[in-house]
């Protein structure tokens, strides 16, 4: 199938929206992505014809909905090439997935003085749970620093990892767009005797993912960033690790037995899925995976590489020293997420001016305050592109920046 961005864009109802006679240019997909008709319809259709409890009732309608639900779990498995379907745990978002790992795996395996290594480009979701563990269990956090062009500085990785029990890192920075060398990082973690936890939030929606080739131990990602609905995230973990972990949330579905004096856990994946799951949302995620798979993840990556190549040169050519684009300049090691500084205009004001042209970019700290401090900024403006963004969208951004400079020059 050839990749046709104009056709793809037509699949997304919201992107057809016109405000004040101008089309919408949505450049905030690193924050959350839009949903194709196929996903919206799958959810409506499911609620209209097959909605019923999962794993609890025995009538045909419930069997149908349980089948559809478990089918989506299988799609998740294939999408990331996980060895087993029962290793796919549904959470409410990637944040819950990372908390689950920190709390359950970390709570059981980490003790005072144990070391967990993070990188300085992590999202708060991969920092705060470890801070909480530092407070409760006295673990020590170490941080992989960054190079000037926003890649991981691996010079001292081995000494940082020395004695570490876990290395938790993003596969792609949500601020800089940097793609990290996941396979190499997993190998380094294992060589040091640490497990490797991969935050795939920004990577999985945009690239072919293969947890076996990576050699990862855990992977987390969020449906809402990959054309799927909100309210559903995924944790994948190696069966052996998941089996050895204590449960996280307690309640229905995650138990084999409950007595007045205690309980025993269910098998995977139920063990980590307490309560009624996001049923319709799992169906929607399944539809999103089918949608992305039909287009082809490598086609999507190729399209985004072209987009970011074009955007980098268009912005630099037009604005020269007036613009600073953070992160690597080589499209091979970056995704189509661009944080930038434009003249002295505060990102919030920049986003306001762009919004006047219906261009949606995020201004803020992007839930990565430690990285912001490294960049010496409280905030950046960030334009992030996805499969539905055309080169016209890049042009719209480049052109609209012009006006911002004048208004705010100090």
């Amino acid at each position: 199938m050839s990749f046709d961005v104009a056709l793809i864009k037509k699949d997304f109802p919201l992107l057809q929206r016109v405000i004040n006679n101008k089309p919408l240019v949505y450049l905030d997909s690193a924050n959350t992505s839009q949903k194709p008709r196929q996903v919206i319809d799958a959810m409506s259709h499911f609620m209209e014809t097959s909605y019923a409890p999962i794993n609890r009732s025995a009538y045909q309608l419930a069997a149908e909905s349980t089948d559809a639900f478990e089918h989506a779990r299988g799609l998740c498995r294939t999408f990331i090439n996980a060895p087993r379907t029962n290793e796919i745990i549904f959470t409410k978002n990637a944040t819950e997935a990372l908390n689950l790992v920190a709390h359950s795996w970390g709570g059981a395996n980490l003790h005072r003085g144990d070391v967990v290594v993070l990188t300085q480009m992590e999202h708060h979701a991969n920092i705060v749970p470890w801070h909480m563990l530092a407070a409760s269990h006295g673990i020590e956090l170490r941080w992989v620093p960054l190079t000037d062009d926003g890649q991981l500085d691996l010079t001292n990785l081995d000494s940082l990892l020395k004695g570490a029990k876990a290395f938790s890192f993003t596969a792609m920075s949500n601020v800089l767009g940097t793609i990290t060398p996941v396979q190499q990082l997993c190998a380094a973690a294992h060589a040091a005797g640490a497990i490797a936890i991969v935050d795939g939030c920004q990577y999985v929606p945009h690239n072919v993912t293969d947890v076996v080739a990576w050699g990862a131990d855990f992977l987390t990602f969020s449906s809402h960033k990959m054309c799927g609905p909100s309210g559903i995230g995924v944790l994948w973990g190696r069966e052996e690790l998941l089996n050895a972990m204590p449960p996280f949330l307690g309640g229905g579905n995650m138990i084999a037995d409950v007595r007045l004096d205690g309980f025993t856990c269910a098998e995977l994946p139920a063990k980590f899925e307490a309560g009624t799951p996001p049923i319709t949302e799992v169906i929607g995620l399944g539809a999103a995976i089918s949608y992305l798979t039909a287009i082809g993840m490598s086609n999507i990556r190729q399209h985004e590489k072209e987009t970011v190549t074009y955007a980098l040169s268009a912005l630099n050519e037009r604005y020269g020293n007036d613009i600073t684009i953070h992160g690597p300049s080589d499209p091979e090691v970056r995704g189509a997420t661009l944080s930038f500084k434009f003249k002295d205009v505060h990102p919030h004001d920049l986003s306001q001016v762009l919004d006047q042209s219906n261009i949606c970019v995020r201004a803020g700290h992007h839930c990565a305050k430690p990285l912001m401090r490294l960049l010496g900024a409280n905030a950046t403006a960030r334009a992030s592109f996805y499969l539905y963004n055309s080169l016209d969208d890049v042009d719209a951004l480049v052109n609209a920046l012009e006006g911002a400079g004048d208004l705010f020059s100090l």
């Binding site: 794993n55 609890r56 025995a58 069997a63 089948d67 138990i255």
Partner: protein, 147 residues
Amino acid sequence: MPGLEDLYREIILDHYRTPRNRGELAPPAAKAEGHNPLCGDEIQVYIDVADGVVRDIKIGGQGCSISQSSASMMSAAVKGKSIDDIRNLVRRFKHMMSIEEEGNDSPIDESQSLGDLEALQGVVKFPVRIKCAVLSWNTLLDALNNA
């Protein structure tokens, strides 16, 4: 939807109404317990193993017609058999229930007839009931591991 007669064959109802090998075995007999968290069914399997052969088997617990009759037929089918034959039978039964062991591609020996057990074939058309049918079989495997 397939009719109820596909599910509730006469022989199944017979084993349900008149379960074979009900009871307990005292230690040193091996014991295992199984739960079906979906419906609350509970089963106990007791086995007496000597020289690689299951000399005696008893079944305790409560459950629906499918889980009870499957347990009863299972007990009749394995009593007096060697552990190897039994493991092979369990695999064949699960295969009939459309459950395959992940990572085991070795061919299944279908030379023996499954006898009465074939009556449970209709369960496959009622996927929620498959768990009922295999509960006792999984519990048997646990008991063998405990023996």
